[in-house]
Assembly symmetry: D2
């Protein structure tokens, strides 16, 4: 029975990880870390786990976690992640990293967008990007999986079939993205207070959001030509959910039905991608590992719409998909509820 | 002291009209209509007016309302509006129509998008479009003002300076629009139930929303060349507010500062248009008649962002602006709170 | 493998039933009814079930459903339920009724509170009240289980240990109850529109809510003396969740710790009752079948607080608990996620 | 024209104060303080004030503010307030203090509930409690007004007519109180993050909330016998609004209509108290200075329900009522919108 640990157990993605892993009776959660002292039981930090998991949150080093676990989910912020992961790997554990530290291949791009010199650059290009729908075959056997960002999963899965088939112009792709507030994390900040977000709506990070280079890197890899997107995120007064409304320019005219068929074929082997005819709602994928995708036309303008739960398919659900592939479980284990 | 009436007093826009008009001590509200029987006091329909307005809602004909009032706000649904308005005008009253019935100039376009033959087509092209920021000089002296749609005001005001100066391509303008739920009205429908909307987010009316031809008609008038937009509305889990994120294609490169200056100059005489440097939030314009607009670049892609309160600047606030111009009040009367 | 059907499949409780039952691979859902024509697939009514359940919603009679199924969940409104259930039972199926029709023992009380003559009165007193924490032993072998109301489960479970031990005065018990909007169902009504509920809070049904006699009947049964409560429900701007804040009068003084011990012992065999030290939050039980209960003192005044998810533990979760007991599954099957 | 300042201008109550004061053309706002450096314009802190108020937020001492202003609203936290106010008063300004520092008469009670020794105890019992509905005559001419707490205003106004007439038992009064999140202030804290509050509901501060002694002190003063209440606050997932559901024990039986008449008479001269027949909703008083109160019976149990906007009638609106009385304006100036 694999022993599993979570580095950085106080946030929302850590909580969702635990909730999902508890559904797999063949997994044992043996470590959860926090910088708080006093070894608080996990239910003091996540009260909904009361009576469900008997585990203390400990202030452990990466090395200690690595020695105790076969697999570790690293839910630390960026920078903290690339500090801990070499120690985890040295201890012989396998790692799914939910931070951004190993997603970008080029340390210069990392430095430009994250404002930090990458301290583990040799591992960068070598790490698999953990989007099983695109890279399933490369994941088993790896030591380190870079779990994708929430906006990036949504955008990439919505565009990959078009980019792969070279049906759209590789530049000038407009992604108007909307996310619930949980995507901003659990650290108290003015901008994520209830009274700031509720009954409010705004764009943020226009032109500066770090998921833009990640989307471009992966879609460039998929399409084998340089992809450029304009990514505009918005904060929506809801807890969870992402909807991306995407406006690509088709090279040649086609039909909604032909495109839906293309998508269905592209994702035929992907149990968590649903190509739907109706307009996706975040509510329909909330608390699930599904992403719902459809396409529409307004005159000749193609519009691709995709929705997922940012904490599940956008973070902890796909992390468990990756873990399942690493640990030899069926890809859907604990993820179909 | 002008006597004012409201045709269709049970909805949200009627409530906001009353709330605003009560701030003008030189206006007397003398009629409010409903199809309900029993002449319920207005506070049974809008409890927040308890003790503020002593008025019964009556099941009056348009003719009766016209005889009692100098000015009438018509807050009926489309089709009902164009049935009532000829009678109101025949009775000698002046009308601000909040429905869509007199916004489009071409009865064929009306029929195509609204699915009804227009029954008052001769008045169509002759009616002033009640967006004071563009047509202020044409409003005084008119008998009938077609109050703009909420999405359309936002989109038009966000684009007019660029279109007027011919700085952007007239076609291929993408408008990704987001609205709170009150825009859908107060009639009970499955789609606007709390438990359907809350914690949910989706696009709707993709390619079919009736504000698209209205935006195109007005911007074509502003720019004197045919404008085409792709308008994609989304329903946001909040009560009130609209944010439009707009992606036009610039003909020549320019800077954010140059564009902000252009906007400031264009709207120099408009007390309710605020050209801001920060990203607009709907919360900052809620309960006000302001529209906040800014521009941003992501690489070379221009992005225009605009926010207003759909029930105030998007409906009842601009209706009172129009009324003020018709009745000889200062344009801002009762609207700066 | 038991064949299961759902009478009245369009509401929220029906959706939750399906979602829970899909987790039990040894159950087959073979019928779902609607009054809509055209046999719409279930995912047209509940889009989140897309790809998860291949079933049409049919306009079937109770008799037809009864012939097709071994077990039926009746999710019809009251009155409709007592019309259908005799036919279901005559067809030899076992029924969990989620309506109120078989909860009250006395047809006169039913008529007083529901305003209808009960048409199946002989079955009333004979039906088991489906609260497994109190009546687990009586459920197996029954043909008909009356599933409890959401407020009533919360209130009864919060008070049963005190009433059973006769620690509190049987009258003058104040229950200040708060519920999310989904408890009001999925039929469009003015009062449950997003724009009415959001950013609003009010009491409703003061002195007239139908769960009051149900709470009193069951607690009277538990305590063997006549219990009277003052039940005051409030509508909270959230989708799901109930919190009851209860003020009983203790007969003799005691301590918080002694009472928590009493509760822990009383519910020792109940996997879904969690006696917690912290103040319960609805968020911590959302999407689960748990009820969290604690007690507090303010000077000498005892306060009991209890929270559950009104659609799960308050409706469909306990319905599946009851089904599990009827069908011979472990009580927790499909309910621990 | 009186010169007005705000000490502690970054919070929600300060923002509401400014919004209200801007409606009075005979008031000049000349100072707003912050501990932030750089003298940010007020619209950087409250973007909705963009273009409405040309004022920098300065890091001023209380003395400097006192010298510049005739009237100061002190919107600092407790402790900070009692440090600043002696300097303000020494400079000859009049002060409305929105903190709790001068509400309680007894420094020992203050120390017990707030955990700080009061540093200005001689002024305590001498300060007027700024609830104009009870103490209107004592306010004009005062130097310092202690503005009431939000829960306390609601509770006191709901109970004062009963206590004054000695119609209810003075002890055992249960106040089940519910508040929106803005009542918790604008400082980032885990418990007020959107993702913690949204879709959640819980009690907090049971037995320990500081408004309990304040309610008891004022009602004891009103009734001239010692009043004791059990005050239980709850956090509601909405921005603004308080509803108190209050369960007193009547000494003699009476009727709903007799009580409503008593309330109407008691508050006959109070323009912001509305005695209504329907159940109060926070939405109906949002953005206003009204408090809506009604009474109901459930069998013989009296229930008093009262709703107000915690930021307006519960804080900044009543503060301006007090200011109006101090400065010689009509009590309703700027408050009826």
């Amino acid at each position: 029975m694999p022993k599993v640990g979570i580095l950085g157990a106080t946030g929302y993605t850590a909580y969702e990880l635990i909730r999902i892993l508890l559904r797999n009776p063949e997994v044992e959660i043996v470590a959860a870390t926090t910088r708080q002292d006093g070894n608080p039981p996990i239910h003091e930090i996540h009260p909904s786990l009361y009576g469900r998991l008997d585990l203390a949150c400990e202030n452990l080093t990466a090395e200690e976690v690595g020695q105790r676990c076969d697999y570790v989910f690293c839910a630390l912020p960026h920078v903290a992640s690339m500090t801990a992961i070499p120690d985890l790997l040295a201890a012989g554990t396998k790692v799914v990293d939910l931070s951004a530290d190993y997603r970008l291949n080029d340390p210069a791009v990392y430095e430009k967008w994250y404002g930090h010199v990458h301290t583990d650059p040799t591992r960068l290009g070598d790490t698999v990007y953990g989007l099983p729908e695109l890279y399933r075959d490369r994941i088993p056997g790896k030591d380190l999986v870079a779990n994708p960002g929430c906006y990036t999963s949504t955008s990439i899965l919505a565009l990959a079939p078009l980019v792969k088939q070279s049906l759209i112009e590789p530049t000038g792709i407009l992604i108007d993205a909307k996310s619930g507030v949980s995507g901003a994390g659990r650290s108290p900040k003015l901008g994520t207070l209830f009274s700031e977000c509720n009954e409010s709506l705004s764009a943020y990070g226009v032109g500066t959001h770090r998921h833009q280079p990640e989307i471009e890197q992966v879609l460039t890899d998929v399409g084998e030509e340089a992809v450029q997107v304009t990514f505009t995120p918005h904060l929506i007064p809801m807890d969870r959910g992402i909807l991306c409304t995407i406006y690509p320019q088709l090279k040649e005219s086609t039909s909604q039905e032909a495109l839906l068929d293309l998508y269905r074929e592209f994702y035929a082997d992907c149990p968590f991608v649903r190509i739907v005819e109706h307009l996706p709602r975040t509510k329909d994928v909330a608390q699930t590992n599904y992403i719902d995708i459809t396409v529409r036309f307004n005159r000749d303008q193609l519009i691709v719409l995709a929705a997922l739960d940012n904490l599940i398919k956008g973070a902890s659900g796909v992390a468990v998909q990756n873990f399942n592939l690493l640990a030899g479980f069926d890809e859907t284990t604990a993820l179909l509820v």
